[in-house]
């Protein structure tokens, strides 16, 4: 679905944000781009819908070279939600805000109405249909930004730092929505340094540092490698850190989510109990 072929990107200021990056993301994959501030995550995301074109190398979206397509054409395939949701809002109501993008992309009026209803319902915003986007809470603004993008049903959804400024409940909601989108077969790419959030989603993790990909694999492997994470200024998820200290007692160290940790602990305790009785 997405292919980066030896992509290097140098900003006009001379800062090299991506350095010979090659990676492929398949259809329906759930990917978390992780890394410290300035690792190149946002630059990576901006290449997905052609906001940035590689200085050298190629980016292919659905087999097409992004240099040959406009941002508007690519946006139909890849919907990007930026960190600051408010950068999008300029219309009096939530409903009009969603309709604006759909009309831009040339959808007919009856489709526009259906899509608005669907997107706002999916994001649990239908009660705010007639409200000003500026009067929504931080979490709701973020969900509206996502609803705007989801409305035209892009095959790929990319989110830049979706958890910044969100409280735990909002994060939980966001997590469930991302899981649903992934189950629906959409390719979802999130850039974040929120390890706890990623640990619960258990996606494929692409770890970046100084414009390069330093690791690429499943969350269970990467998020339990303390040394690797530290080299990218990231700490292990709390569950993984706890479990790694209990390895001497025979507990499984390669665990990142709470549920799995509970299961693993119960299993081990039962084993101990069983040996004691025997």
């Amino acid at each position: 679905m997405i292919k980066f072929d030896s992509v290097t990107y140098v900003y006009p200021t001379g800062a090299r944000a991506l350095s010979d990056v090659s990676v492929e993301v398949g259809k329906g994959e759930l990917v978390a781009l992780m890394g410290e501030n300035g690792a190149g995550k946002t630059t990576f995301i901006k290449h997905l819908n052609g906001l940035l074109k590689p200085t050298s190398g190629r980016v292919y979206v659905d087999g097409k070279d992004t240099r040959t397509l406009s941002v508007a054409q690519l946006s139909r395939i890849v919907g990007v939600v930026f960190q600051n949701a408010e950068d999008m809002f300029f219309l009096p109501t939530v409903e009009e805000e969603v309709a604006f993008s759909l009309r831009n992309l040339g959808f007919s009026e009856d489709v526009v109405q259906k899509r608005i209803d669907w997107a706002l319902k999916f994001m649990e915003l239908e009660v705010y249909k007639k409200r000003s986007p500026f009067l929504l809470s931080g979490g709701e603004k973020k969900r509206l930004a996502l609803a705007i993008i989801l409305a035209w049903n892009p095959q790929v959804i990319a989110m830049d730092e979706p958890t910044v400024g969100q409280d735990s409940m909002q994060k939980e909601k966001l997590k469930e929505m991302i899981k649903q989108l992934s189950l629906q077969g959409r390719t979802v790419i999130i850039s974040t340094h929120d390890v706890e959030f990623v640990a619960e989603l258990r996606p494929r993790v692409i770890l970046m540092s100084r414009g390069k990909i330093v690791a690429d694999g499943d969350a269970d492997t990467i998020l339990t490698d303390g040394e690797l994470l530290r080299s990218c200024s990231i700490l292990m998820p709390q569950v993984a850190a706890t479990m790694s200290r209990l390895t001497d007692l025979g507990f499984n160290a390669k665990v990142i989510s709470v549920e799995e940790a509970v299961r693993s602990i119960v299993k081990r305790l039962m084993e101990i109990e069983h040996t004691r009785r025997a």
Partner: protein
């Protein structure tokens, strides 16, 4: 956007950076006066050479060139408007003269901007504030002025972010006729204004928390003090300016 880059301060440790901001401001003002006084091409070229030498000494040549590049559209506009004015009013006899005088006027604008660019590139916002305070301008006005300078690059970055966000929604900013393009500015300007207002409120709160205006007599950690090198620079620039004045009045 590159014209804004030329107004942003970059830390440096050169003789120009260390010069008293009041002297630097005076040099820029003298340059401005020279630009207004003379229309002769060779003098204007000399002024540009002097500026280039200053930019080189301050190690800001690249950023200074950016200001010049950024001022070109404005210069083209001035050139066009003057040429139209000269032709319609018949101020100059030949087309060659019209072109020459329009070009000099446009060039003077570039010179003026580039001269102040060197001042802004090498003077910290704090120093600009101190300069204004030393001229007894009330601090709230000084603060407003410094904040405007300081927030310009931030707003420029925000503008880029907003444009990215809106382009990702399928808006094609560079397509369509002039009227359509003007309409497309609304999705850019509304979020920009909303963000600016929010930032203004936040800044006001932050200032109140830090007791802005609590005492009437403000003191400053650093105070501007003229040193021998500042007097030397002042002397050199005033001498050169006097020579130029003299030649303008009595020789040319």
């Amino acid at each position: 956007m590159s014209i804004l880059e030329g107004l942003k301060f970059y830390a440096g440790d050169t003789a120009i950076h260390k010069l008293d901001p009041r002297v630097k401001f005076l040099v820029s003002m003298l340059m401005l006066l020279m630009v207004v006084m003379y229309t002769e091409a060779w003098i204007l070229v000399t002024l540009m050479v002097v500026q280039a030498a200053m930019a080189y000494a301050a190690k800001v040549v690249r950023r200074w060139l950016k200001t010049i590049k950024g001022s070109i559209p404005l210069a083209v506009l001035v050139f066009g408007l003057n040429a139209i004015f000269f032709i319609t009013t018949g101020t100059h006899a030949t087309l060659q003269e019209v072109l020459y005088h329009s070009a000099t006027l446009a060039y003077r604008l570039v010179l003026f901007l580039s001269s102040f660019s060197i001042f802004f590139l090498t003077t910290t916002p704090e120093e600009i504030g101190l300069t204004l305070t030393s001229w007894r301008i009330p601090y709230p006005y000084t603060f407003a002025f410094i904040s405007a300078i300081r927030f310009t690059p931030i707003i420029a970055q925000e503008l880029r972010d907003i444009m990215d966000a809106q382009r990702s929604r399928g808006i094609e900013l560079d397509k369509g006729g002039p009227l359509q393009r003007a309409k497309k500015l609304v999705p850019i300007l509304v979020p920009l204004l909303a963000n600016a207002l929010r930032r203004a409120y936040e800044l006001a709160e932050a200032m109140e928390v830090k007791c802005f205006g609590a005492t009437k007599n403000r003191t400053s950690l650093r105070e501007l003090k003229m040193r021998s090198r500042d007097y030397a620079a002042l002397l050199v620039s005033l001498t050169l300016f006097s020579l130029a004045m003299y030649s303008r009045l009595f020789l040319l």
